[in-house]
């Protein structure tokens, strides 16, 4: 009988005692009449018995003292680093809470103060504004979108006082 993958795994489970009683009986019946299945189970068992006791012969290649000294050193190092860390005080715990909370409160407050300045009612109507000082040639232009402010000052001044001053000086 050809042994497919499913049967192979079932034969292995049989050899490992992992089948239910009913399944184990079915496999035992099959093994009684199928030499290939029997040979496979035999091979699996041979491998298992070859490996038995293998690990017991592996020995640590270091002396007891040397091996332990490294473990002990590491344990003591970890314990020292743990005990040298100071216990967090109540004040420190509060500070851990207050610092971020305070920073958040400042940000919120700043937001409340700055927002109306940037997005006040006059801003909703226009993103640009112009302003001219009376009795002067000074003129300001502000573009809120680009954050640009331009100031024009006429030179020489074109107002009447300036003209007079200029004439006086030239004389």
């Amino acid at each position: 009988m050809a042994i497919n993958e499913e049967l192979s795994l079932k034969l292995q489970a049989y050899a490992d005692g992992e089948l239910s009683e009913r399944e184990a009986r079915e496999v035992a019946d099959l093994l009684a009449k199928d030499t290939d299945a029997r040979a496979l189970v035999e091979e699996l068992k041979n491998t298992c018995s070859a490996l038995a006791g293998f690990e017991a012969e592996i020995k640590l290649p270091e002396s007891r003292e040397f091996y332990w000294s490294k473990i002990e050193r590491e344990i003591r190092r970890l314990e020292t680093s743990r005990t040298s860390r100071p216990e967090p005080s109540v004040f420190a715990a509060w500070r851990r809470f207050l610092v971020p909370a305070g920073a958040l409160a400042v940000l919120v407050l700043a937001g409340f103060l700055i927002f109306p300045l940037l997005h006040g009612p006059h801003m909703a109507e226009s993103a640009e504004s112009e302003f001219t000082l009376p009795d002067s040639e000074a003129f300001t232009y502000h573009d809120y979108a680009n954050g640009t402010t331009l100031v024009w000052l006429s030179y020489p001044a074109e107002n009447e006082f300036a003209d007079k001053d200029s004439e006086d000086t030239l004389d």
Partner: protein
């Protein structure tokens, strides 16, 4: 010097003392079980240096978690599980570094082993123990990490399929498949080594 086999009952007073912080008692436990813990790490890692480091790390972890040891198993079994988990973590890290996944380890090679003819003659028959050990050593080196791990957990740790699946984080089907191919490959490798000799 051979390690004396200690029963769980022998360990019990030492474990209790160690749990109370007695480091001398803990050192005695280390001395009793160091070979076994090292051997398990070596079987999985196949590298002496890694096995020493990981076994020592396991002892340090054990000391830190000693109070959590509830005696549901023997101290030796508890220790072995710690070192197995450390080895599995290390193997996963190594796999990640090689940009591979431990979950997908070497399933592809399984088909080849399945088609190989059954080894009808026991290749280890009438071998001296030292020779057999050398052959198994070489054969284990040639197995993939996934195959070797499942073989170690089943054959050396005597874990059932279900527990291996839980430990390795895979399905029982994967465990069965890996174990089967590991054993077949092992049988073939041992037979080949016999021919070479």
């Amino acid at each position: 010097m051979s390690e004396i086999a200690h029963s769980a009952a022998d360990d019990e007073p030492l474990v209790r003392a160690a749990q109370r912080g007695d480091m001398t008692a803990f050192e005695e436990l280390v001395a009793r079980h160091r070979d076994k813990i090292f051997a398990r790490a070596y079987s999985m890692m196949r590298n002496e240096e890694d096995a020493i480091d990981l076994s020592q790390e396991a002892w340090v972890k054990a000391w830190q978690r000693l109070k959590q040891f509830q005696r549901e198993s023997s101290f030796s079994t508890w220790m072995t599980r710690i070192v197995i988990n450390l080895c599995l973590d290390q193997l996963r890290r190594q796999k990640r570094q090689r940009a591979e996944s431990i979950e997908a380890m070497d399933e592809e090679s399984g088909g080849v082993e399945r088609q190989m003819p059954v080894v009808t003659v026991n290749p280890t028959e009438r071998l001296e123990r030292a020779e057999l050990r050398a052959r198994i050593d070489r054969a284990l080196n040639q197995l993939s990490e996934a195959h070797r791990t499942v073989l170690v957990l089943h054959e050396f740790e005597q874990m059932e399929y279900k527990l291996i699946a839980k430990t390795m984080g895979c399905s029982i089907g994967t465990v069965m498949s890996r174990l089967f191919y590991a054993r077949r490959k092992m049988a073939v490798l041992l037979a080949e080594l016999k021919k070479q000799d």
